[in-house]
């Protein structure tokens, strides 16, 4: 028996349904533009501008709210793993550092770590740079804080720089970039032993990634200082070996010998310090062009730990930031005319 409406009626019904659904589908595909939402680029710029204005005016709470809004807007517009988040994230970190809202500050730093790890999965050099930037933030926090919180930030900073070193070690020919990072780890060790609380050091180093102390076995203060000395010495010797491979590098090697001498002086090993300074001085004396370098290294007092000698501006700025932490009376590198070298002159 044949159906009274037949297949043609079915086709007509389908067309009618599709025609009814099509406008709704097209509408769903098109981005909804509302007059007053911040998910549009122009509005995003406006939010960022107002946040900057709040910040300039010192209205940190208002700036925080505005930057959070901008941050969410960037995430929505550009995607959850887009690098456009990084500048806004930097502003949020700066605001929360100024507000001393440590839970927010740590939260954004953690987010920064997760985001950059995801973004630079296949780019170790980029990842190393992002890790360095996070380490800078931890160091800035360490300057403000005291006690175990300072210790924790210094340890986190050190760990991040180690991670940056590990990332750079995967890149062939990046050994020159390692030296300032290795020197930075050494100076962090010095500040950890002199300017931070050693209470809970072992716990913060090995038991947890968070700023809490977990009870258990811990290293004595003396042992921690000896270990820091050993690590710094090892790292400086590694820097020396890296530079020793390059030809005609006598001046650089003399510089590193001076840093090695400084390291001995910082840990109270005057005799070894003298030996390193003597080695550097003699190497420089054999070079007729080394007059200005001798002047730079030994003719004036230099506060220790000295900045890294490379021309890299970042290494110097980081050293300068760290140097402001030194509150316990800074040691200085002696001049050649000082009593420190008197014994040295007697030998000659």
């Amino acid at each position: 028996m044949q159906h009274p409406f037949g297949p043609s009626c079915l086709v007509l019904a389908c067309i009618a349904t599709a025609a009814a659904l099509l406008p709704a589908l097209v509408h769903a595909q098109m981005p909804a533009v509302f007059p007053d939402n911040h998910f549009t680029l122009s509005n995003q710029t406006r939010v960022l501008e107002s946040a900057e204005q709040h910040m300039q005016a010192g209205e940190l709470d208002a700036a925080d709210i505005a930057f959070r809004q901008a941050f969410e807007s960037v995430r929505a517009d550009q995607g959850l793993f887009h690098e456009a988040q990084l500048p806004v994230l930097d502003r949020l970190l700066a605001i929360n550092l100024a507000r001393q809202d440590w839970s927010q500050f740590n939260h954004y730093l953690e987010y920064h770590g997760a985001l950059t790890q995801r973004m630079y999965q296949e780019q170790p050099a980029g990842h190393a740079q992002a890790l360095e930037s996070a380490a800078d933030w931890h160091q800035r926090a360490a300057l403000i804080l005291n006690d175990e919180h300072r210790t924790w930030h210094l340890i986190r900073s050190r760990n991040l720089i180690w991670q940056a070193v590990s990332a750079l070690e995967q890149v062939p020919g990046s050994e020159d970039q390692l030296s300032p990072l290795l020197y930075r780890i050494a100076t962090l060790h010095y500040y950890l032993t002199t300017e931070a609380s050693l209470r809970g050091l072992t716990s913060l180093e090995v038991r947890t990634n968070h700023p809490v102390r977990v009870s258990g076995w811990s290293m004595s203060g003396n042992e921690a200082t000896q270990r820091s000395y050993a690590i710094g010495q090892e790292l400086l010797e590694r820097i020396y070996r890296i530079h020793a491979r390059a030809p005609d590098n006598a001046l650089t090697l003399a510089h590193i010998d001076t840093l090695l001498g400084d390291w001995q002086l910082l840990f109270g090993r005057d005799e070894q310090a003298r030996a390193y300074y003597r080695k550097a001085y003699r190497a420089l004396q054999t070079d007729p062009t080394a007059g200005p370098v001798i002047e730079q290294l030994f003719a004036r007092r230099i506060a220790l730990p000295a900045p890294y000698f490379s021309s890299s501006a970042t290494a110097d700025s980081v050293a300068a930031v760290l140097a402001t932490m030194n509150t316990t009376g800074r040691l200085t590198r002696p001049q050649l005319t000082d009593d420190f070298f008197t014994e040295d002159h007697q030998h000659e």
Partner: protein
Amino acid sequence: MSDTRFRAKDKATETRLTRRRFVPVLALLGLTGCVAPGEGNFIRPPTPAEVEQYNAMVQPEKRIVCRTEVPVGSNIPVRKCRLAVDIDETSNFHREQLRRALR
């Protein structure tokens, strides 16, 4: 004929020399067999900086602590590395045993 004999003689001498050459090689192989790499041989413990780099890369439960210890019955210090978690567990266990013994 004599030429053939000489050749045979040369061959025998050569074989003997080759054997003699092998003797020191075999002796050397035998000696090295005595110090074959086993547990403890040729394994350099990680330096303090290497330990720190490793610890920075792993989660807390995998972090290690290396210290120089003087084992019982010897005066020679040995560098030992252990998981920090293990150190805590052993120390808790010993503390518990001591408490039981003192009860």
